[in-house]
């Protein structure tokens, strides 16, 4: 049974449609990445799921709760730019967050100390005012406050995009650990981050989900590898020859390389190499380039 099921969700501001008729659902225990360029509607979707925004139309169904019921008890949320009470200490803020989510005072304290250790904030730092924390510390504290009440679903809005490489690595490691404990839905515009930890992808463009599926499914569907060739002399001549091989779906010359796209890459490789050796082509470069996530995304968006 799906943990969350989103039906025909739309969000409009006046004439502007931020999210248009979005449908998706996912299972417990998955790590889902919401990918899209800035302004695609990622934040709007996450804020609507977390209850901070009301959908213009459509429903959100959480596990066996009623449609559109208050699902905040089951959700942990970290906004893209979290801001805290700077006058509180990190530990105070965690206890406060826990108590708001109906943990008892003792439970909240215990859980706060447990999480501070987990996110690597020392005892000394945890008793300092948050206004003195670095960006990475704040982001980790943000994750801790989001999971203090052991939510079933953790929603993270661009959790790593504002961090330096060290902070980014820390947060990615933390997310990797949390994957085992809860379902995670996070947004990012950095495709390699999504590639690194997510099981499933939702590709968002102009407020609509244009593609979804597991990493492998999407690869299988969109991965058309390219062969890049270079010769000692004129490329045009060989382009014609390769086009005649009947294995090529597209070929073009760009930046001194002949780019060959084929649906069956191994067959194409065999045909090209055989011909090249029979006719003794002066080949200088032969590279097989697997399409990156970026290429895949561009393809989906442009289709």
């Amino acid at each position: 049974m799906a943990l969350i099921k989103v039906n025909n969700l739309s969000k409009r501001y006046g004439n502007k449609t931020a999210v248009n008729n979005v449908n998706f659902d996912f299972e417990r225990g998955k790590c889902i990445a919401l990918i899209g360029p800035n302004g695609a509607g990622k934040t709007t979707i996450l804020r609507t799921l977390s209850g901070l925004l009301k959908p213009t139309s459509g429903t959100i169904q959480f596990a066996d709760e009623k449609e559109n019921s208050d699902i905040r008890p089951h959700i942990g949320y970290l906004p893209q730019y979290p801001s805290f009470y700077g006058w509180m200490t990190g530990r105070e803020f965690l206890i406060f967050s826990g108590e708001l989510a109906y943990l008892s005072k003792d439970e909240a304290k215990k859980r706060a100390d447990e999480l501070l250790k987990k996110i690597g904030i020392s005892e000394g730092a945890s008793n300092e005012r948050i206004s003195r924390y670095s960006g990475g510390m704040k982001q980790r504290l943000g994750i801790a406050q989001a999971i203090i009440h052991r939510p079933k679903l953790l929603i993270l809005d661009e959790p790593v995009s504002s961090l330096d490489p060290i902070g980014r690595r820390e947060v990615m490691t933390l997310m990797e650990e949390l994957k085992n404990e809860m379902t995670i839905l996070f947004s990012t515009h950095i495709l390699s981050d999504a590639d690194e930890i997510s099981d499933e992808l939702l590709l968002l463009h102009n407020g609509e989900i244009v593609e979804s599926g597991s990493m492998d499914e999407l690869r299988a569907k969109y991965q058309t590898s390219k062969i890049e060739l270079a010769f000692e002399n004129d490329l045009e001549e060989y382009k014609e020859k390769i086009d005649q091989l009947n294995i090529v779906s597209d070929s073009m010359i760009e930046r001194g390389l002949l780019h060959v796209t084929a649906s069956d890459i191994s067959q194409a490789r065999k045909a090209i190499l055989e011909t090249a050796s029979q006719e003794d082509w002066p080949l200088t470069t032969f590279t097989i380039n697997r399409a990156s996530l970026e290429d895949m995304f561009m393809k989906v968006v442009n289709k």
Binding site: R47, L52, F96, L100
Partner: protein, 258 residues
């Protein structure tokens, strides 16, 4: 329980940002400024000079009730301004900075959130007011004549209702707007409009909250509670509670993120 958590957070915040120190001190200063200066008015005028030689100062002796009115006058102008300014960002500021997102995404009841803001401000305001009026009462007894303890308690209670309305107005505008400057501006504007309307339509608006101070004067002077004071108090309480309920409603229908 959740209310307690939010309420304690507000109290701790107002302690750490020193409101619990400076607001009472300022209210005390405002409360005793007029009793002291009116007492020393003859000397002050003399030392300032500029009067023709031989002018004698014939200043009327002030009645205790009149001095009470002076104190309340100070509190109603500068006091109200300070209370509005210190509470203008209590919700608006949290929404602007975004910290309210972290709080309200927890299963927090919006009612508790607003109620905690409202009541923690009231505790601070009532405490400051009681202290200020107590010190003023002490000075009045010392300098102008006797004022009973009953009168003291009446002044604190009835004038406190006026300040409760001021706080409720601020909370109300806090739930509507995100800019704390706008909240302060509209609260002051509303109070001024109410005051002008009360002056123009005085006969129809006998129970306008703006009349509280003058009925308190009457009560202290006649050592009895005029029926208008009761009526005005009830109106003030109803308005305050109405604004509070209105705030719940607005906040619920409002989207918490922009």
């Amino acid at each position: 329980m959740q209310f307690n958590t939010l309420f304690k957070k507000e109290m701790l915040e107002n302690w750490r940002n020193k409101k619990w120190i400076w607001v009472p001190l300022v209210i005390i200063i405002l409360s005793i400024m007029d009793p002291i200066t009116s007492y020393y008015l003859p000397q002050i005028m003399e030392s300032v000079g500029g009067m023709p030689e031989g002018t004698t100062f014939e200043l009327p002796e002030f009645l205790p009730a009149e001095v009470v009115t002076m104190t309340l006058g100070q509190l109603s102008s500068l006091g109200v301004l300070i209370i509005v300014l210190m509470s203008m960002g209590t919700i608006a500021g949290e929404r602007k900075s975004g910290v309210s997102e972290l709080v309200l995404v927890k299963p927090v009841s919006y009612k508790n959130y607003i109620l905690a803001k409202w009541s923690s401000l009231l505790v601070l305001v009532w405490f400051s007011l009681a202290l200020g009026i107590l010190v003023s009462w002490y000075y009045i007894n010392l300098l102008f004549g006797e004022l009973s303890i009953v009168a003291l308690l009446q002044i604190i209670f009835f004038y406190g209702l006026w300040m409760t309305l001021v706080v409720s107005l601020t909370i109300f505008y806090n739930t509507v707007f995100r800019s704390s400057g706008l909240v302060a501006f509209l609260t002051i504007l509303t109070i001024m409009t109410m005051s002008i309307l009360t002056q123009i339509f005085g006969t129809y608006l006998a129970w306008s909250p703006n009349n509280l101070s003058s009925y308190i004067f009457e009560a202290v002077l006649t050592e009895s509670i005029p029926s208008e004071l009761i009526g005005t108090s009830i109106v003030t309480i109803i308005l305050s509670v109405g604004l509070l309920i209105g705030s719940f409603y607005i906040f619920r229908t409002k989207e918490l993120a922009n």
